[in-house]
Every structure is written in C-alpha cells, then in structure tokens.
Amino acid sequence: MDEPLKALDELGAQFERIAHRDAARQPGRRPGGLRRGRVLALALPGLLVAAAVAVAATGILTGAPVRNAPGTSFKATTGVGKPGRAKLLALRVVDPDGGPPWGMSTVTTTRGFACIQVGRVVDGRLGVLGQDGAFGDDGRFHELPGDVLTLAHCLQPDAAGHLFIGVTGRSVPASALDRGCAVAQPPPLPKAFADRLGSHRAPTLPTCAAADVRILDFGLLGPRATSVTYENDDATVVKTHVDRPEGAYLIVRRPSARRPVTLGFSVGTSPGRGIRSVGYDGAPRCVITSGRRIGGARGCPLVGFVRARPEHITAAQIATPVRATFAARRVRPAPPPPGVKVARVWRLTISFRARHGGDARSNYVISIRPRRHSGCDYMTIAPLVHDVRRGAVVREPIDLPGTCHGVIVGTVAFRPQSRLAGQQPLVPDMRGAVVAGRFEARIPG
C-alpha cells in the first residue's frame, strides 16, 4: 500500500484543527468574535442598549468611525478617497489570535490615484478594533470611511484601471490602527533638533506588546495573477489563491526572528520578500529569489499591465515667460506652535502662465539651485501640489533658507504622466520633464 501523500496529510491536519476549533466553540457563539477580555459582547444583556452605539450582527459593538489623524492631509498629493468608490474585496484572512478577519479595500481618490487599505472586517465593513491602545481600548469596531486613509498606500493605476502594488513587511498593531501604540520606537532625534522642538514633539506612543503586532504583506498583482506562495510561521511553504480580478493577496503573520518588528517597510509595484512566488494565468510563475534588502527581491513582471499613452508634449507647446520675485525681507514660514523657534526664510514667488493643465499625474515642477559660486547651499525640486487649469496664471511661493544670499537660477518644467508602472503622486523627479521656462533672481540684502 502506498504511503499517505504528504500534501494531503498537511491539508488533513488543517481540517482536523479547524474541526476541533469549531467544536470547541460554545453553543450559540458565532465565529469571529474579538479576543476574550477585550470586547464588549452582545451577551451583556441590555447593558448598552441605550448607548449611542450600534450593535453589529456579529455581536461586536460599533463605535465612532475612524477619522484622519489631526494634521494629515492627502488633498495635495493623492487627493482624498471618494467614499462611494471604496470597494471591500472578498479576501478574508484570519488573525493569529482570532477575532474579526483582516480584509482589504481599494479606494479611488479625487486625484485619480488608486489605493489599497487594510483593516479588520465586521459585517462586511472595513475598520479597526478598539484595542492595543486604539480608541482607548474600548473593544468596539470602528469603521474606516472611504475618505479616511490609514494603513493605505496609493499608486497610479494602469491604463486599464488596474492597480499593481506590493507592500512588504509592514508592522502594525493587531487593532489595524497605528495610533494606539507604536510597533517600535523611532531613533532619537538629534539633540539640537529635539531641544528646538521642546515640548512640541509629537507625544510618544507606548510600544505595543510583541503579541499585539502583526507583520503584513499585501498588495494587488493584477488581473492575471492566480496565486502566491509564502512561508508560514512554521516554515512550511503554502499556496493561497489571490482574489480576482484584482489579484489581491494579504498575509498576516506574527513577528518572528526571520520577520522582526520594524518601522521600515517597502512599497512598490511588485511584491517583495514577504512572498516566495506568484502564479499567473498564461505566464510563467515568478519566483522571488532574494530577500536580502527590504522589498529588494527581484521584481516580478507586471503580467497584464496596460501602459498609459500620455499626450506628447513639446517645449514649444508649453513655453512661457517665468517671473521670479523675492519678498523684500525675510518672513516667518508659517505660524509656529507657541514657544517653538522657527528661522525666518526668504520667500520667492514664481509666476507663469500654464499653457497646459496639470494634475497629480501630469504636473509642473519647479527646480531651483544657486548659481555657481553663489552663497546658498540649497537645491529644490518642487512639484506643484495642486491642479492647474490650462491658461491659468500660477503663483507659487517657495521658501529658501534665510542664510542664503547671492543669485539663484531655476526652471519651470512640465512632467507628463509616466508610461511606467508605479508612478507615485508628486514625487520630486525631473525625469521626462519638458522645460517651459527659466528664471533667475537675486536674493535681497
């Protein structure tokens, strides 16, 4: 008689574990409850009936929805998520500690970018849990509205609207919200800088307990991806099907010696070291061979990627006079918090007529550098972080260090939409840019 097949044995062990886990559940208890001791369950009769909270069908109390963290604004770069354009994918992944499964949604932004967002799923809604310091450990489920981007990553979709993105090794609290505790503490600030900030430094979050941290690998591999393989916590290699047609994958693991908690993670168009291979329909399996640097594994081909066909722009089409004017005196850059010293700056205003419209994908970029032997150790490449209407006069203020003197020179250029995958919103990059005009100005004084 033949020996049992190893793969069937492994599969059988999983069924056995699930069968016993299922049997161990208390009668009437629904699968997918939050961790014991951290939630308010429906079983508390009448306790919170009058409270202004909704009780979801799963027996998990619902609290206030998540809002963007104070001071964050995505308008200038990606735009904000369109609430009606958030789509929760069917993908569900169990958490090592149980509770609501992890899920992923895609969000289209007002500036034409596509984002993926991960969180916990309750009653078909993506959100976060009130644990690990989030929402005062209230044990409730807090929905992530479509216009709130947290644990989200955005890139430009391809010409067919498919997003190709891979996030590798992101350490997050099990709550799915990175505001309750810190997975790790950032390195200390240089003393001089810390002294200047004084009491206005962002409050330090307590470090999450190691058991409350998850390492996430997730992304979208396009419409022709079928499966990924990865190494499980017990070092076995497992295969899982991606969610189609987006090619979505999400792997939730505990930290380990091979996957330590870190503040670093990578985002690209191709998955990194978190997975071992990608299977496609009608294309060879891509094996990711190197994981020595973050996200540095050999990229997989973007099977099914449709290149954009951007309009060809010539210098003659966009040529425009550019005016550069310094304010007569140095100014304070922005109202600083009380007690914080901020050095005065030279404010330069660049103005020109935009002969072509610009947005988050095709935009004007201003570059500035000192003229040779001038007294300013300063260079900048500044994309315009707002939409520009064709024919409009642009007036863009740019601050230079107050210690500068001498002459600066610069260009205004137009950078058309990239044909390549993974164009990030408003990255300071002059590649492919067409110069519209040049300017020169002397710093007063």
Partner: protein, 197 residues
Amino acid sequence: MSTIEDEGGRAVELCEPEGFVALYRREAEFVLTFCARRVMDAETALDLTAETFAQAFRGRASFRGTTRAEARAWLLTIARRQIARYMRRGSLDARALRRLAIQTPELEPDQIEEIERRAGLPALRAELAAQLARLNEDQREALRLRVVEQHSYEHVAQELGITEATARARVSRALRALSAALEPRPPIAGETSWTNR
C-alpha cells in the same frame, strides 16, 4: 444526524470533529485522484480537493446519508461542481477555503509526480490518445470543433454539413466513449481492486 464509520469501524457523527476527520482520511486520496483524472494536473487537483472538503465541512450539517457510498457520492457531487466551474471559468473557486483560512500546501516536484502516478495520468493520457484514435472520423471532428475549438453546435453543424441535432449526438457519443477512460472505480464494499482506471 448522519453518521459515518471511523478507521476502527465505529459510527461517529459527521458533525463531530472525529467524524469529519475520518471522512477526510478515507476519501481524500480518492477525491484527489478523481479530480486529477479530470483536470490532468496535480496542483489544480489538490486545489479542487481542498475546496471540495472545505465546502463539505461547511455543509456537513446538511448531509443526510449513512453509508460510505453515500458519503463518497456526496463528496463527488461537490467535486464535480468544482470541476465544472473550473472548466467553465478557467479559475478555481476558493471561497470555502478562504472562509476557513485553509491554505493549500505547495507541491514539490516529486509530490506532483507521485500524485500523477497514483492517478494513473501517464497511462490515462496514452489511453485518451488511443480512445481518440478509435473514434470514427465524424465523431472526432465533431469533438474537435466543439471541445477544442469551442464552437457552438450551430457552427459545428454548419461546418460538417449536418443538422444541429446530429452534431450534438456525435459530440455526445464521442464524449461518452472517452469518459469510460476517466472514471476511477475504487474498492468500496466488497470490491478488491480498482478497475477501469
């Protein structure tokens, strides 16, 4: 509540962990072979087997049979549905697996070879080729146009200069002739060997 026999011959309820595990241990390889002989690919067959058992697990409360043959028939009904879906759409359904968070193991090359050997795929491939050669030319051409070229029956009929009903009959007869080569006949009760693999 339906019961099945465990490895020691004791009756256990299918909804109990021991009952489902016993069913899995007894039938998993058979289902894998069943799938492999239809999709001719070990990895796909393992995926289909995993999804079949995941769906069986989720629906085990609805099983009303009492015999081994009924349990097997129930599993094969699920498996056939999965295979049909796979053939129709070209993609695997893994919803039940995802809900249970079960991960299909990755097959090493030697395991793929072993599954193919146990499912008798090398012999089956040769047998299918021989069966195809044995079909008369009319049936073979009708089968090629319908199954390989995926034309409609109307197109097959036009191409062969026959009525649509005749085209359907030729394809049906050809498929019946080939299907005999696909059906595994494992021993259940009283049988001593596999026949007609």
